[in-house]
């Protein structure tokens, strides 16, 4: 027997993925080149402008830098702002994601 909704007005709880796996939105995927990424090259916390400017906050400012591709919408701001030009937005092949 399915539990009924006990709310009498619309009250939401926080959770990841309200709009689903927004990684599906992308038509280009960010790829970080560790040979160029300043944090990777220096092998310590550094730069992190990609973390700073990601609207979604899905960049992990670690060594190496990691992007959560399940939710990355592919805006490309990280690639645009990276001072080392370490991030490339790789276009998906037609018909594939």
């Amino acid at each position: 027997m399915e539990t009924k909704d006990d709310n009498i007005s619309a009250m939401c709880k926080p959770a990841v993925g309200e709009a689903g796996k927004t990684g599906d939105w992308r038509d280009a995927t960010p790829v970080i080149d560790p040979a160029k990424c300043i944090a990777s090259v220096k092998n310590r916390p550094a730069c992190y402008l990609c973390w700073l400017y990601c609207p979604e906050g899905i960049v992990t400012a670690g060594v190496p830098v990691e992007i959560d591709l399940t939710y990355c919408k592919g805006c490309g701001i990280c690639a645009e702002e990276c001072p080392a030009k370490a991030i490339t937005m790789v276009m998906h092949e037609e018909g594939k994601s």
């Binding site: 909704d5 709310n7 009498i8 007005s9 619309a10 009250m11 939401c12 709880k13 926080p14 959770a15």
Partner: protein
């Protein structure tokens, strides 16, 4: 303990707010409701009522302040009339959909265009679809008693309540009012327990966009779509009938005054014609009933006290056996007929009751309505009914074609 004072309707309303220990009052002036919040501001500024008093910049904001303050758990109040009520119309819908126990005193006044500052009930009756409970008071005693009951009803069913009383006729007229004892009122009103959670301890997003369909949450529970939530409001309003009746009964037991629950009757038992009305017009109609009785017509009156939820069951019972019904009301649903009349007729549908129902649109924009005119109107209706006219709309004492 009896504390009878000579009060205007507005003063009676203000006293109710003080007794109910309302915590947030949002106020905007509009004739003839202004004295209510003026009286409250005196008490607040002198420290006799501990409350936040927000002098907002419009009636739309009046209701908005009520909504958000009630959401975080404060008992709230406001009063308004006419265009003030109309200006907050959007927020009335929002308050009901939010399921908040807001109490509003509507001091009935006609609406423009053109401007009228005088009494009719178009303002509140035009809000009948918003999801608010509506109570119509027949005298100043009922104003103070109904406002106190309103908090208990609202906070139990989580629906907002509008207590309506006629502008100038009641709001500015002085009558003896027995002011209930403050401690007794405290005991009569349990503290408000909000169902809404708006707190850093448990972050929620309240009243966002909702899809038409049901949708699972992150824990897998199937949650409502828009229509399901809206059904809950309708269901709560229908169920509030029992709470309204019980509250009235409990109030009568505690304070000794019974205002009748959903509706009240006057000399109705053996009636050959029943008048129907709301508010101070119903009080005037009791005088008309007496006049008719003196003239040999066995008239009676049904005073509708609660207009929403509409007292379908009580109306069917009250009008079940009478051969003629004459409705008097201070409103019109333009393009159709008086709203009260239409609702009465609709509630009789399907019961087999085929009673002729005549109605009179009376007193719009404050045009005076005298008991003698009501009695004359009933006599003319009875004559028309006798000659086979079972349904008629007449504008009382008005220039028509």
């Amino acid at each position: 303990m009896s504390d009878v004072q000579i009060l205007t309707g507005n003063q009676a309303a203000a006293h109710a707010v003080k007794l109910c220990k309302v915590q947030v009052i949002s106020a905007y002036p509009i004739t003839p409701s202004t004295p209510v919040t003026e009286a409250i501001s005196q008490w607040v500024e002198r420290g006799e009522l501990k409350a936040e008093y927000i002098r907002v910049e419009s009636e739309h904001s009046v209701m908005t302040v009520c909504i958000s303050a009630s959401t975080v758990g404060a008992r709230v109040f406001t009063s308004t009339s006419s265009h003030g009520l109309l200006y907050m119309h959007e927020q009335l819908h929002w308050a009901a959909g939010s399921r908040l126990p807001i109490v509003l005193a509507c001091v009935n006044r006609g609406v423009g265009a053109p401007w009228s500052i005088f009494n009719d009930q178009q303002d509140s009756i035009a809000q009948r679809d918003t999801g608010w409970i509506q109570i119509y008071c027949r005298d100043n005693q009922e104003i103070i008693d109904s406002l106190i009951q309103a908090y208990r009803i609202a906070e139990q069913v989580y629906c907002p309540v509008m207590v309506c009383y006629d502008g100038f006729i009641l709001s500015h007229t002085m009558m003896p009012v027995d002011i209930p004892d403050a401690d007794q009122v405290c005991r009569f009103l349990p503290p408000y327990k909000p169902h809404t959670i708006l707190s850093p301890e448990d972050p929620r997003n309240i009243n966002p966009v909702i899809f038409p369909w049901q949708r699972r949450d992150a824990e897998g529970v199937l949650r409502d779509g828009y229509m399901d939530l809206r059904w809950k409001l309708q269901h709560a309003l229908e169920g509030s009938r029992d709470v309204i009746v019980e509250t009235c009964r409990a109030y009568a037991e505690e304070f000794g005054r019974d205002h009748g629950g959903m509706l009240w009757t006057y000399r109705a038992n053996d009636a050959e014609v029943l008048l129907a009305s709301m508010g101070s017009l119903a009080t005037e109609a009791t005088v008309a009933v007496d006049l008719l009785r003196e003239q040999g017509i066995r008239a009676g009156l049904v005073g509708i006290r609660v207009y929403r939820p509409f007292p379908r069951r009580e109306v069917r019972e009250a009008f079940g056996k009478v051969p003629a019904i004459v409705v008097f009301e201070k409103d019109i649903s333009y393009g159709y007929e008086g709203a009260l009349c239409a609702d009465i007729k609709a509630s009789l549908y399907g019961t087999g009751i085929q009673t002729p129902v005549h109605h009179f649109i009376a007193g719009l924009g404050g045009r005076d309505v005298k008991a003698g005119e009501l009695a004359e109107a009933v006599r003319s209706s009875l004559a028309a009914i006798a000659s086979g006219n079972s349904e008629k709309q007449t504008w009382l004492n008005c220039v028509t074609e």
